[in-house]
């Protein structure tokens, strides 16, 4: 019994590490491609006269995109591993590679398609942006797919989750996409995309679409964006996913043996309570440190 718990805990720790790396890679990849939320501004910019050199990867939004990337990688790994007898680690890597290549094809067609769909605003298709950014996209998508495929496999094999690991990879892919969209994209959208606006405020509606065109040296492109977001947004996304994977596995492994399984539920609820209290403290801190934008009339 103790051995199983130790083995499971070790696997959970490894899973948490894989998830952290995968989460960071996911957010960086979505910054390279300017995907989902912040992309609405990149889409709007030519219409308000702000031409740009960002990538415009409008592939369905991050949760769905990572859902299909990770589940395809895991499914191909399953096929290669069982049919051709290739070692599972190499299968996962090959699966992730093929899925990342497919993903990049979707990215290029989206870039070309969106810009052609708004050709009347005069935004050109830059082939050099396509050629230089897409390989970075493939690389980070590969890391993300491999990380998520690997920990889905471990979850199925070592922790005993009954779903087959392609289905697990799809579910975790949607979760990592949601995490990247909620956490990492804010760093890109509110901070880097509007770097020339004052720090410490949200984006007024009137400023929508007026994104930064000129970078630190030369014109801003999506490589600069990823180079900036890797310092805060991406690690935070990775941390969020790693904590989710680890906390959920940890409470299930250690506490299921108490109170006929209710131990794990109580542990989970306690964790939720701790996070809610932490949020309240954070909320109070921001109100006190930053202060109001205007004073009360009364």
């Amino acid at each position: 019994m103790v051995e199983t718990i130790v083995l499971s805990l070790g696997a959970a720790a490894l899973m948490g590490a894989c998830a952290t790396i995968a989460g960071a890679a996911e957010d960086l990849e979505s910054d390279f491609g300017s995907q989902s939320n912040a992309n609405s501004q990149v889409q709007l910019a030519p219409q308000v006269g702000y031409l740009h050199r960002y990538y415009n990867k409008a592939v369905s939004g991050e949760p769905v995109a990572y859902g299909f990337l990770c589940c395809t990688g895991a499914a191909i790994a399953l096929a290669l591993n069982t049919a051709l007898g290739i070692n599972i680690v190499i299968s996962l890597a090959l699966g992730a590679l093929i899925a990342a290549l497919m993903y990049a094809v979707y990215a290029t067609t989206a870039y070309m398609g969106r810009l052609t769909g708004q050709k009347r605003f005069g935004q050109p298709i830059y082939l050099d942006i396509l050629y230089t950014t897409t390989p970075s996209l493939i690389a980070h998508a590969f890391i993300a797919a491999l990380g998520i495929g690997a920990f889905s496999y471990l979850m199925n094999l070592v922790l005993g989750q009954p779903f087959p690991y392609p289905i697990l990879a799809m579910l975790w892919g949607v979760i990592v996409g949601g995490m990247g969209s909620a956490v990492g994209d804010v760093h890109y959208g509110a901070e880097r995309e509007y770097q020339n606006k004052p720090f410490g405020m949200g984006l007024p509606a009137a400023q929508s679409g007026k994104i930064v065109q000129k970078g630190e040296a030369g014109l801003r492109n999506s490589m600069d964006v990823a180079g900036y977001c890797v310092k805060h947004g991406a690690p935070l996304t990775g941390f969020g996913l790693g904590i989710t994977v680890f906390a959920d596995s940890w409470r299930e492994i250690l506490f299921t043996q108490f109170w006929n399984g209710w131990g794990a539920m109580v542990a989970g609820l306690l964790l939720v309570l701790i996070w809610v209290i932490a949020n309240r403290i954070l909320e109070m801190w921001t109100r006190n440190t930053y202060g109001p934008y205007k004073t009360a009339e009364d």
Partner: protein, 261 residues
Amino acid sequence: MDPITLLLILVGITIGGLLVGVGVHFVPVGGAPAAMAQATGIGTGTTMLAFSSGALGLISAGFTVHDIYSGSLKGAYPNFAPSLNDGTLLTASGIGPNLGAIVLVIAAGIVGSMLMMVILAVMANILYAFAIAVPLVSAKVKYDPITGDRQDLYVTRGTEGHGTPTVALISALIGGLLAGAGGAILYLALVASKFSVPTAAFIAIGVFFVNSVLASYNITGTIEGFHDPKFKRIPRAIIACTIASFVLGIWAIAIVYLGVV
């Protein structure tokens, strides 16, 4: 297959789908504007945010069903495995002895879903607090209904709020609770009908998607939670999700009637 079992499965699927649809309305969705610190809420689309939390609830429920069926909890709930094998879990005589197990599975779905929701919201808040340096406020109410904090002074002029304040967070937890419970009930109803585990999981995902998308059509964009005026649209979603889940349930019990295996 006796009619009571079929009816219970149908009721299970309908209730599961309905809970999902209702839960989606509680989740604070900021959508694309939230990623620009222009709106309160979590910066993902409605459908996929609800699905992310439901996904973790489903994984958690799957774990628990497996534990009770053949894992470490087998001794604590001895009636569960035979009921599942015979397909008698959802009968008049099967529910009673297995009530503890059923409640545990639903609780697992709830806890998984709530955990995902709170981590999504709070990690985003950490980023809003330190990278964007904005307070966490809503522009839809003047005073936070739960904490009583003044909101409108702390909202950037021209935006609809930023971050996820306490009222939105509590609303998110309620949404996670309902969506997770719905997902777990769907999964349990399907596994009790002797569908294989992956089939049951994926049909549950399919029904989850249908209800989640219909609810997001009702919301049409962004919603901040139960304090948002758009929340009053919920009766339409209740009718829509009940009908949709009922029809999907009819297909499911037709498969069960013809023989699942």
